[in-house]
Assembly symmetry: C2
Homo-oligomer: 81 residues x 2
Amino acid sequence: MKARILVSFKDSVLDPQGQTVRNALHTLGYDAVQDVRQGKVFELDLSGISKAEAERLIPEIAGKVLANMVIEKYTWQILED
Amino acid sequence: MKARILVSFKDSVLDPQGQTVRNALHTLGYDAVQDVRQGKVFELDLSGISKAEAERLIPEIAGKVLANMVIEKYTWQILED
């Protein structure tokens, strides 16, 4: 079973990496890009557990290990069984 | 219009960050996690262009600027109009 977890800064937190990318895109002429937010993606390969266990485990791993919940938020989805 | 671009190492490229995360998860007892691949996510806020233009622009930006196509691959999707 594969799961994808997206971790990004909360909207209220400044994202200097994203701003740098946006500025670089403007320099290259991509003026349609108003804003860029950069984050991390984790793709987990899980085995030996049921989908129900995975649905309990993934947010636990995301909230405790992968994201710093003080400044970051996460979303997750199961990609395949 | 918002677009999401996921950039990760090609499957043939070693991912030491992902391996470190996997080892950390094993240390914490999350043995169901067989493998972890880590990548980057970019959320772009686009304006003043049509959806068709966005569908042309996003892979161009991803392939030329956001991903290093020698060792990385990307996927993208438009999140909302």
